[in-house]
Each structure stands twice: as structure tokens, then as C-alpha cells.
């Protein structure tokens, strides 16, 4: 049995909006193991992005605990959080993912630079990962010279190159056409499994859930349902199950 890479316990995040308290995340608990790919779904305003921001150590929860690779985010100051993001978390975002003035290779290598681990081996690993993602002929291209799908694949390589404990993806297919979206998520899932990382993908596109191991459904800040079996997940992805 693989170890728990991410643990969320009794997590609460409230916002004060003009005197009204909004429960963006309301008493949520779950775990994600290394090598497991989990989708976080739900309608707009259900708390998915707030949850992702807390998991990414970008937002402090009101109460509850988040443990990444055994380290409690609540016990960390901002400097330590920056270090954690750099070392233990990999990111892909919806858009503006890559540094526009760095080539594909430089974008991926930048994570190694940040972690002070860029050496000859790191460079080789970076090129291999990009080649695995079908980008060996795009190493020296700037993001503006690549398609949206290619950019997302570079972002996936960047999210994985430093072997983080947890990989977080915020709507990674939002700016892609259907065919490319499936390709990107399939590749992503494959690498999560192969490299034994814990992956969490926030998505509103249920079709993408066919590649994940588990689906967590949120509504009004609460975790309302969990889809575990392949059958349930497939039916959800095909639109047979009403979520």
C-alpha cells in the first residue's frame, strides 16, 4: 500500500463579504495517496478553487489541517510555505502557465533551478520528460510558438520534473479543444501513476474524469460525494450518472 501524500482534516475556510460569512470550504476531510490521481469536481462556487489554493499553500485555512508529505501547512511561516511549494508541489494552471520568455526546456529546467538541482542529469531528465510528452522538437520554442496543448504538456513536465509529493492542476483543459484536452489529461494521469505522485485535478469537465482514480464532488463548500469504483467514474464521465 502506497503512503499518504496529502491529508486534509476538518478543513474550513470562511470569507467575510460585506458582513456576511461565506463558507467557501466547509468541514472537508480526505486523503490522497502517492500514485493516485483524484478529480475535484463541482459547480461554479462550490469551493474547488479555494480548496486547491489551500492545498497549494497559497491560502491559509480558517481551521483544520493540511498535511503534505507529512508536513503540516498550519505550522509554517510564509518562507517555509514558499519552500514547500518549490520542493513538494507541482503546478499546472488554467492559463498563463509558462514563463513567456523562457523556452520549453528552460521553463521545465526552471523548477530545477529554483530547487538548486539543475545539473547535467537534471538537463537530461528534463529533455527526456519533454520527449515523453512528444515535445522533443519543441525544446527551443517559446510558449508563443507552441499550441495550447503543447504548452499544457510543457506545464505538466514542469510540474513533475522536481519529483514533488503532490501535483495540483487547476482546470488544465479549460483552454484546449476536446481532442487535445483528452490527450493532455491522459498523459498527465499516466505520468502521475508512473512516477508515483499524488495528483489532484480541479475540473468542471466531467469527461476528463475517465482518467482519474477517484472523484471528489463538492457543493456549497462541502464534500458531498465520492466516486471510487471504475464503473461509477466511467458513468460520471459519460454523463450517465447525474452528479
Amino acid at each position: 500500500m502506497s503512503n499518504i501524500a496529502l491529508e486534509v482534516r476538518d478543513l474550513v475556510k470562511t470569507f467575510d463579504l460585506d458582513g456576511t460569512t461565506i463558507n467557501a470550504v466547509d468541514d472537508v476531510s480526505f486523503q490522497v495517496r502517492s500514485g493516485e490521481f483524484v478529480a475535484l469536481v463541482g459547480p461554479s462556487g462550490s469551493g474547488k478553487t479555494t480548496m486547491l489554493s489551500i492545498l497549494a499553500a497559497l491560502l491559509t485555512p480558517t481551521s483544520g489541517r493540511v498535511l503534505i508529505d507529512g508536513e503540516d501547512l498550519a505550522q509554517m511561516n510564509e518562507k517555509r510555505r514558499v519552500k514547500l511549494r518549490r520542493e513538494k508541489i507541482g503546478f499546472t494552471f488554467q492559463s498563463n502557465n509558462l514563463i513567456p520568455y523562457l523556452t520549453a526546456r528552460e521553463n521545465v529546467e526552471f523548477m530545477l533551478r529554483l530547487n538548486n538541482t539543475l545539473d547535467r542529469t537534471g538537463r537530461v531528465r528534463s529533455d527526456e520528460l519533454l520527449a515523453r510528452l512528444g515535445l522533443s522538437d519543441r525544446l527551443h520554442n517559446l510558449p508563443a510558438q507552441m499550441s495550447g496543448g503543447q504548452q499544457q504538456r510543457v506545464a505538466i513536465a514542469r510540474a513533475l520534473i522536481h519529483n514533488p509529493a503532490v501535483v495540483l492542476a487547476d482546470e488544465p483543459t479549460a483552454s484546449l479543444d476536446t481532442e487535445r484536452a483528452f490527450q493532455v489529461v491522459e498523459t498527465f494521469a499516466h505520468l502521475i501513476h508512473e512516477k508515483e505522485r499524488a495528483g489532484i485535478m480541479v475540473t468542471h469537465d466531467l469527461r476528463m474524469c475517465q482518467y482519474v482514480d477517484r472523484v471528489l464532488q463538492m457543493q456549497d463548500g462541502k464534500l458531498v460525494r465520492e466516486y471510487k469504483s471504475r464503473k461509477e467514474i466511467r458513468e460520471l464521465a459519460l454523463g450517465v450518472l447525474e452528479h
Binding site: 478553487t49 479555494t50 486547491l52 489554493s53 497549494a56 497559497l58 491560502l59 518562507k79 514558499v82 519552500k83 511549494r85 518549490r86 520542493e87 508541489i89 503546478f91 494552471f93 488554467q94 492559463s95 498563463n96 502557465n97 509558462l98 514563463i99 513567456p100 520568455y101 523562457l102 528552460e106 526552471f110 523548477m111 533551478r113 529554483l114 530547487n115 538548486n116 517559446l142 514542469r158 487547476d170
Partner: protein, 386 residues
Amino acid sequence: MKSFFLATYLAVKEVIRNKGRFLLVALVIALITLLVLFIAALGEGLANGNRQYVANLDAQLVVFLEKSDYSISASRLDTNTVKSVRRVDGVADAGPIYTSNTEIVSLPEPLKVSLLGAEAGRPGMPPILEGRAFRGGEAREAVMDRNVALRSNLQIGDMIQIRSTQGTNDEFFDLEIVGLVDGQSYFFQPTIFVPAATWEKIRPQSEAELASDTPYPNIVAVKLVDPAQTDAMSVRLVDKVPNIEVADIATTINTIPGYSAQQGTVQTQGVFTLLIGILVIGGFFQIQILQKVPQIGVLKAIGSSNAVVGLSAVIQIIVVTALGVGIGGTMTYLFSLGFPPTIPLVFNGTRSLFAVILLLLIGPFGGMVSIIYAVRIEPLKALRLG
């Protein structure tokens, strides 16, 4: 140190990959540099034209007629004043200076010059670079500013003719050039030096003045035994010599008519140009940072520290500013080669260096707001929550 290398890496990559955009800003900075350096050179040139002779005096104090408000043209001293000044304890030497204007008419183009009377070997008479000093008495000999000699193709031994209005008539006097001195312009004019008695004879004068043969010096240049004792010696001179007031060289320069106003104007122009530079650079980098908010959010979200983001912005500003100042400095040098010598541009090392340092500082200063803004960008901007 790691932050510095990362920041340098990001800053340099961005500049290299967006060459056109950054070159455009560098060129704007280059134009501002050109303007600032020319204003500085003009300020120095104008100041030189006005003060050069006084600034180079081999003296620490200048004696004026009492209540003349340290104005050289308004001061007219008694002939015995020089002797009285020399007798005061602590005075090493003193020399009378007689000022007037005239015109050399023997040149292809008539040239207005300051006609200065002085005693050879005394304070007020600059060191001779070539040839010899004039003889005393009414010798029709002159020592000339070397720059004028070069420009006018005059040499030692040549004769010049000057025109002088005596009463209501124009009279012409011939003078032999016997020596050359370094650049000694006074009141925006090159200078020729003659003996006091000659000066009295050939200077332009009114009908009433023609009756007198006695030259009255405008001022007396005083060289002290101890050059550090200017304050004490000023008091002592005023105490011992009647009807005088005493100023140091700096005060004398500042009271040259128009000098302070002119320098103030030039400096104000320079300051405003620098202010415009600050606004231009600040505006550019602020717009750039605003365009890069999501990108900076991503950088911070993936683990870049505020130090990396802030330093990167600072390094970028410094690189672009240095490039702009470098281009501007080169342009200024090339332009200056083509300027005619009549335009008073003097590229003084200290003044130009000061201007360059200020220009290098306006970049970081102008970009300070954008740097602070960049550091404060929340990494949440990378997500849709920001």
C-alpha cells in the same frame, strides 16, 4: 546569492527575448542622457565662459571698493590700495586687475575680447605658457588666450589691432603678441592682457576720463601666506585698509553679473529632464509589471520568493538604464565631435560623471513603484482566485 543568480537569469532572459521593447526604452533613456549631458556640458561651458579667469586666479581673496556689492564692474579702487593690501600681515602678494572690453579688428572676422590690465608676475596675471610676459610701462605688448590664438591663427610676434572708442571717436591701437596663456575667458569673452598703463591708454573711455592718465584697478587679487585663513584675513584686510570690502573666490564668481541666474536656469533644466526621465522609466516599468501580473503570480506560486521577483525587476531596470546611459553617452561624445568651438560645451569630468550617476539612479528610482508592486503581487493571481 541563489536569489541573485535566479533573478539575474530571469531578468536577462526577458530582456534578450524582448529585445525590441527594451531597446526602445533604452533609446528613450539614451535621449534623456544626451539631453542631460549636453545641459551639464552647456552649464559648465557657460560657467567657464563667465568665471574661468576669476576661478583660475592665483589668489584666495579679492578686494573690492566698499559698497560695490562685490561687483567687479562697479568697483574702482584707489591706486594706493594695492600697496596698502601688500603691507597687511599674512598677505603673500597682491596684484591689481583692470577690466574692460575691446575688439580685435585685424582679424578676418572682428573678435570681441575682454581687455584686462595686470602686473606681470603678480596675482591676476596668469602663468605664461608660451613666449614671455609683457614689459611694464606703456609697452604695446599683449599676452593672449591660447584658444583665441589657435582659432585666429595668431602666433607670438604677430601684431593685432584693436579698436577703442575714446570719447566720441574710434581709435585704433597696435599690439604685439608676446606670450600665450591657457583658456582664460572672462564675461563670455576671450581675454588679452596688457600692462596697466597701456590698459589705461587703450581702453574705451568717456570724454571726461581722457584727461586722466592714472589707471584705477577694479579689484585686487590677494594671495595669502596661509590659504586656509581666508575668513580671518578678510576681516583683517577690511580692518587695515580703508574703503574696501573683501570676498573669497567663490563669492566673487557668484556675484559675476548673471552667473547665479544662468547656472540656476541650467541646473533647473537638468533637474526637470531627470524628473521627466524618472516619470518615463517609472511609467514604462509600471505598465510592464501590470501586464505581467499573472506571470508573476505563477512565478510565486511555483516557489519563487519575493526576493527573486523583486531583484529580477531591479536588475532588469538597471540593465536597461545602463544600456540607455551607455548609448546616450556614446551619442553625446559623437555629437560633441561635430560641434563648432563657438558653442560653449565643456565636458567636465566631475560634472559629467555626476550626471551619469544621477542618470543611472533614475532607473531604479523611477521603477521603485513597479518593484514594490511586483513584490506585493499575490501568488493567488496565478489561480482564478487572485
